[in-house]
Every structure is written in structure tokens, then in C-alpha cells.
């Protein structure tokens, strides 16, 4: 008898085997990407493609409210409180993030709680109620969040930069909306919006965790069967290339000055993308060295690429000496364009990125984010695991060519003491001379 039970257990384990390598499956036309993790956590990330492409400017904020309503406005089976209490029962976390390229609805739970948490997640997505009283509450919360965004100096600066650089383009729309657009939203219109975008044609799902393949397939099949097919959807990709330097300043009573500049960047699907990624890492290191170490101008100089559907490069700083900063920054760019990045730096940065790849693999949430980003932006989720290989053939010449090609004009925005900044230095064609040593400012 004991042997028979053992045999059945073995059979069951074989039929419902746990894969140990990442794989994908199509379920009702929806791509489900699965990454076994070998740990006690399960992370789900359902991605609704499109983001700001899905609504007009006068409806900005609608996707955010729709996503918030999933967990905050009840379901057809449970009140909001019953739903949230059930999640709390197993300390499961259900988050929604609304970005410019996509909305993400995420679940994070302990593996042993997945059988409890998954039905709640599926219920919120397939049978949301949009209770009017709760909707009124989350609207007030969304308005408060807009005020918080304005209170946070980095968030406010980024919002200003996005609206300035991408004026007239989709990226100028803020996923958080505006006071006017949020106030105008109704439960019915927001629910209708959700129904039009939460469709099999627009989504893919990332699962990071050790769930047996057959179990997962069964759950995903039942879940996606409850979603409408929707219209075919094609993501739009837009290039961003500022035609000239520009500068916009806003007076703000903050303790230092906040500066952000956008320039071009390659599309994540292009051959220039990986050289640009390396250039961005080295450019960050160079900014740290020149702006912080050698000139003591800032705690937080930064440079990075946003590799989304409208890719762009960013330079960022907070400083008491904006004129000195821009002289140092522009001379640094000129120098790199003229002399290029050293071969040694290219080699070292490849190693650092390889370590970052492992570092980001340490948590299921981070890993799911990398997989979702690769699928959304590059159309190839396996790219999340091949950074080391993708960077290996890149030469210093590749990096220098790409840096010269994309880093050109910058759209600058500034918040702080407007009397401290000479905007000419940001927009003039000629690079300003480096300040003499030991001068505090121009």
C-alpha cells in the first residue's frame, strides 16, 4: 500500500512538473512568461500595453483610477473591505502601477499562500464593481496624490521636464492626470475604459515563482477566458530628438536647485541600444567624477537612459551653483565626444552590468520587472537574461559612435532660485568655458 501511494505521488509529480528554466506559453491568445525562482515568493505582473497611448489628454488619470479601483472599489462578490481583509489574511500585496508605456497589475505573495491570493487577484481583474462611494473616495485620494507629487521636488521636476520636452506628444500626458481631468471622471466612464483596455489583445503576464506548469496553465486559462478579446493593438514607437538647446525655469522655494535635461536615445529594439546602455553607465560615472568629486558641485549628479516607447537620455543634478554645473557638464560632453570613452572603462562597465544583472535577479519582483520591460520595450522577454552576452561584442568604437549620434541638444528644465541661473549658458551654441579653479560661481 505504501508503495502504491508513493507511485501515485511520483506520477502526480511527473504530470505536474516544476520547470526550472524560464518558458512561455500562449493561453487564450495571451502570452504568459514564467520564470522559476527557487524561493518562497510568487510575483505576478500583468501588463496592459499602451499607457498614455490609450487615452486623450483630457482623460489623463483615467487609467490610474481604473487600476486603483481594482483593489479599492470592491468586486461583484465582495465589498472593498472584505476584499482587502482577505488579502491581509495572507499578507498578499496587490499593486497597480500606471506608467507612460503600460499599466502593471502586480501580485506578490508567499508561495504557500498562492492558492488564496490568486483567486482574489483574478476576481479583482475580472469582476470589479466600481462602487460609487468608494470611487468618490479614490478620486479624493488621487487629487491628494497630485498635491504630493507637486510637493516632492524630484517628482515635480520630472513632471515639468516631461511636459516641456514632449509637448504635443503622448509622453506629455501625465498618467496621474490633472485636477481638472480627475474631477471629471465618473465610475461608469472609468469602468468602460478598463473594459476597453483590459483585453486579451493588449496584455501579457509575467509569473516569477515556483508554480507547477499545469496548475498555472489551468489558472491562466480560466482567468483569461473571462477577459474580452478586444481589438488588435499595435504599440506606437516615437523618436525624440530636440532640434536645439532650450531652457525653462520655474521659481520655487526649495533649499537647492533642481535641474533636468533630456536628449535623444536609441529605440530599445535598435542595434544602437546596447552601446548606448554602456555609454549611459560610463557617462554616469564620469558625471560623478567631474561634477561631484572634482568640483564638489552636487550630491546627486546623474545620467541615464529611459528605454521606453519614446526613448530619451537624461542628465540630472541638484546644485547651488547651476552655472558652474552646466559649464562642467557641457565640457564633459564635449570631451567625451572628442576623445571617446577609454577601452578600459568599456570593459569594466560590462562587468559591472553583468553584476547588476545578478543583483536584480535577487528578488522576484525585480526579476519580473526586468522581464516585463524586455517584453514591452524590446518585444523579447529573453533579453532580460542575456545582457552580458548582448554587451560582449560591443566595442569602444560602437559606444563612441552612438554617444556622438544621440547626445546632442538638450531640453533643460530648472526649479529653484531663478536669480542664480544664467540660462544663456544652457542654450548657447558654444560650450561655456570651465570656471577658474577656486571661484565659487561665474
Amino acid at each position: 500500500m505504501k508503495n502504491i501511494i508513493f507511485f501515485f505521488l511520483l506520477l502526480s509529480a511527473t504530470a505536474n512538473a516544476q520547470e526550472n528554466k524560464p518558458y512561455e506559453m500562449m493561453v487564450n491568445g495571451v502570452k504568459v512568461i514564467v520564470v522559476p525562482s527557487g524561493n518562497e515568493i510568487v510575483q505576478i505582473d500583468m501588463v496592459i500595453k499602451g499607457g498614455v497611448q490609450n487615452y486623450t489628454a483630457d482623460k489623463a488619470g483615467i487609467e490610474k483610477l481604473a487600476m486603483t479601483a481594482l483593489t479599492e472599489c470592491g468586486t461583484m462578490k465582495r465589498s472593498k473591505n472584505d476584499f482587502k481583509n482577505a488579502l491581509d489574511e495572507v499578507d498578499a500585496k496587490m499593486y497597480a502601477y500606471t506608467g507612460r508605456d503600460a499599466a502593471h497589475v502586480q501580485l506578490n505573495c508567499i508561495k504557500g499562500d498562492f492558492e488564496t491570493a490568486w483567486p482574489l487577484y483574478a476576481e479583482a481583474l475580472t469582476a470589479p464593481k466600481f462602487d460609487a462611494k468608494e470611487f468618490a473616495r479614490i478620486k479624493e485620494e488621487a487629487l491628494n496624490a497630485l498635491r504630493e507629487e507637486e510637493s516632492n521636488p524630484d517628482a515635480a521636476l520630472r513632471k515639468m521636464a516631461m511636459q516641456t520636452a514632449f509637448k504635443g506628444l503622448d509622453y506629455a500626458k501625465s498618467p496621474n492626470g490633472t485636477v481638472e481631468t480627475i474631477k471629471a471622471l465618473t465610475p461608469a466612464a472609468t469602468k468602460a475604459y478598463l473594459q476597453s483596455t483590459l483585453t486579451r489583445s493588449r496584455i501579457f503576464i509575467v509569473v516569477v515563482g515556483d508554480i507547477a506548469k499545469e496548475d498555472l496553465q489551468k489558472k491562466m486559462t480560466a482567468f483569461t477566458a473571462n477577459l474580452p478579446q478586444g481589438k488588435p493593438f499595435l504599440l506606437k514607437r516615437t523618436a525624440y530628438t530636440p532640434k536645439a538647446h532650450s531652457f525653462v525655469a520655474q521659481k520655487k522655494d526649495v533649499a537647492t536647485n533642481y535641474i533636468m535635461g533630456f536628449s535623444g536615445a536609441p529605440d530599445p529594439t535598435s542595434k544602437d541600444y546596447y552601446p548606448a546602455t554602456l555609454a549611459s553607465g560610463m557617462f554616469y560615472d564620469k558625471a560623478f567624477l567631474e561634477v561631484r568629486t572634482n568640483n564638489g558641485l552636487s550630491y546627486a549628479p546623474a545620467a541615464y537612459i529611459s528605454g521606453g516607447l519614446t526613448p530619451f537620455s537624461t542628465m540630472y543634478v541638484t546644485t547651488k551653483e547651476p552655472d558652474k554645473y552646466i559649464a562642467v557638464a557641457r565640457n564633459m560632453v564635449d570631451n567625451l565626444k572628442k576623445n571617446g570613452f577609454p577601452a578600459d572603462d568599456v570593459k569594466n562597465t560590462k562587468n559591472t552590468y553583468a553584476n547588476y544583472q545578478y543583483y536584480n535577479n535577487e528578488t522576484n519582483q525585480s526579476l519580473a520587472g526586468m522581464v516585463a520591460s524586455a517584453e514591452l520595450n524590446q518585444g523579447a522577454w529573453r533579453k532580460a537574461f542575456t545582457l552580458k552576452e548582448d554587451l560582449a561584442p560591443i566595442t569602444p568604437a560602437d559606444v563612441n559612435r552612438v554617444f556622438n549620434k544621440y547626445i546632442s541638444n538638450f531640453t533643460w528644465v530648472y526649479q529653484g532660485d531663478t536669480s542664480k541661473v544664467n540660462q544663456k549658458l544652457f542654450i548657447q551654441k558654444e560650450t561655456p568655458p570651465l570656471p577658474a579653479k577656486d571661484t565659487k560661481a561665474f
Binding site: D88, D113, N144, V254, N351, T363
Partner: protein, 452 residues
Amino acid sequence: MKKMILLLAAFGAVSSWAQPRLPKDYYWQKLDNGLEVVVIENHKVPLATIEIAVRNGAYTEGPEYSGLSHLFEHMFFKANKDYPDQEKFLKRTQELGAIWNGTTGDERVNYYFTFDKDSLEAGLNFMNAAIRYPIYREEDMQKERPVVDGEFQRAESDPGFLLYYEMGKRVWGDLFTRKNAIGDHDIINSATPAKMMVIKDKYYLPNNSILVICGDVVPQQAFALAKKIYGDWKPSEWDPHIKYPIPEFQPIAKTDYFIKESSIAKNPQIMMAWQGPDTRNDSAATIAADVFSKVLSLNSSKWQQALRDKGLATAADVSYQTNKYVGPIGIFVTPIPGKLKECYTEVMNQVKHWGDADYFSDAELAKAKAGLKREQIRRNEKPSSLASQLTYNWTSTSLDYMTDYFSAMDKVTRADIQRYISKYITGKPYVAGMIINKEMNDQYKPGDYFKN
């Protein structure tokens, strides 16, 4: 089993030290110079993380050193005998492919590097040069002072920090510098190499530090490297915390309210704080505090129902910070501006009832404990973060406290939580602060009711 025997043999040389209790796959040694070394074996990814933590930070700072533990932490990354300027230092981090940083808190300063597992020895040597043989030049300090002050100014650009900072002054009184790691602008901007050396000589000692090596490492090899590289680090003949004792915080004398106007606060924020327990005097209450804070985070709690569910606030958080020297208990609320008075009134009403026998249910108590355990599973997910979690406990609790935490938490009863509330909150003086912009201050007039 074979592995266990090998480990026991390797650790036999240090058997004269009392071993702390540790979780599975954590190993401890104390070198002859007093440096504690912990190795955490975790093979999830092929990386190694090394961290050194020092019992230094705000709590060691009188007014004349306010913010200098933090400046010292920055100077760690500047120059040393092997890498005599920051350009060479940074170049070495790039060669190692290192992910690195340092932090300064109230009771700990820590430095950490993550790199590929094969760079462990190189990384330990790199850390050794920086921590034992730093070089402080006036010209380097001239450049780093505005960097550190710039970090301060960034914080001061955030209304939440402005409120927190003002709260701190009032909660800690004359000893505010002992809880204010970011420091004082004037002290930062006038710091000298001589002051850096004072900090180094007082606190940067093997008998005041811990080295943690974690990740894809072999414990025996890691311990051997630690001994080889750090074994000749000269200790002091005294315990710095006995020679330079931390003064005791005085209780808040009387309840204190303030309203701070700020044009950058686009919505009002409220904070309240009490002086809470600490791990020297009442470690049981520190655990009860964590459980109670978790109870209040539950959607079903009376606290969340009264404030969030009723639409009075978009955030209503209650926290306790575990410290060795008086941990603060804090409330942080973001009210809906038009409901400011109603929100504040409800906060006070709830606090008044926190100590009631029926304030939370048995089910909520059980749910909170289970939730804390799940949070721990999540915290343990990232191997490179394990070192920092351990060193926080090493400085502010103890390794035994860390290891025994959940068995102690299981034993927390409703009576323990009521004792915590009664001893530290109900009827005790507190500080309450609000930050608000002028227009809202004029419109909602919180000064009429937000007062003692």
C-alpha cells in the same frame, strides 16, 4: 554532516568567545583583535557582498560634531594609502564591477560592496585600505563638504523632511544632535581633517566594528581571508562606548504642538511622536511595538477604518523604530485638506482608545504576527541585503535578539501590547507637528484646534 564537521573544525580556534545564536547558514567568529566576523552562506546568485558596520553615527555626536559621522562616511570613499585620490578609488570600484554605498544612521555607519564571487579577496583588501588607512586632505574636504551639505539641502527641499526635522528638535531636546544624522550646516561646512581623525581614532576600531561576508562564498575561506586581512587591525584598549558614553535622553517634558508654514507643502502633513522603548531597557516592549504597528496597518483595524476607509486621509501610518537608545514611536498622516479638522480629531480619538481592551481582535493580533513573519520571508529574499539587516541588529539590538525575534514575537500577548501602550503612549507627553502652506493655513485655520 561532512560540511558541519569541517565548519566546527574551522571555528574551533575561536571557541573561547561566546557564540551568539544565529539563523541557519549564518556563521560567527571573533578575531583576537575583537573584530566580529559573520559569514552568511547563500548561493542564489554568483555574487558576494561585504559590509563593515561601525558603532558610530548620530548617537555619538555632540553639537560640535553634528553631521560629521556622515561626512566621515563620505570621506571613506575619497582616498587611502592604496588609492590616494577618489578618481583612483572609483576606478578600482569599476575594475571590481562593484555595486557600493554607505549609510549613516542614528546608531550605525555601514559600508558595503557587492561584486562577483571571485573578487572576494580583492574586495576585502579594497575595504581594508579604505577603513584602516584613509587619507584626509583639506582640498578633498573642501570638495566633499558641499556634497554632504547638498544631500542635506535636498532633504530640506522636501516638506516631509522639514516636518520631521522640527519634530526631532522638540522630541530630543538638548540631545537632538544624538538623533540627527544629517547634522548641522555650519558644523559640516567647517569640518577639518583633524576632526575626521578624532572620529577615526575613537570609533573606527576592530573592537567597535563588525565585518559581514555574505552570498556565494565558502565560510571557511571567507573566515580565513578575514583573519588574514583584518587580523592585524589594532584594537583600542578600551571600549569606546564605555570611555565615551552616550548620554541618556531626557523624557519629553510636556506635550508640544507646532504648525510650520511652507510654500512647498502642497498638502498638509501631520506627525506625532512619543519616546518609546529601547533594547537596553525594555526589549520585550520593542517587539510588542512592532506587533501593534502591524495591527494598525491592517485594513480591518479601527485605525485604518476610521481614517482611510472614511476618506479622511490618504496615509495613516504608525511606526516604531527599534533603537538601543530610546526608539521613537511615530504617527504620520496625510489628511485630505478639506477634512483636516475631522481627520485630526479622529486621530486623537483613536489614540485615546489604543489602550482599550477591545481595540483590536484576537484575529487581528494573529494576522499581524503572521504578516510580520511573511515580511521577514520577503526581506530575506535578497541575499545582498542580508548583511545590512544583520548589522542593524548588531548595533541596535543584538544577534541573539535578531535570531530569537520571531519566537519572542509569538509570545506577545494582548496584555504585552497594552503594557507597551500604557507605559509609552497613553497619557504621556508627545510632540505634534503640522506642515501646511499659507493658503491652506488661512483657509482651514488649524491653529484653532491643533494645540495642547
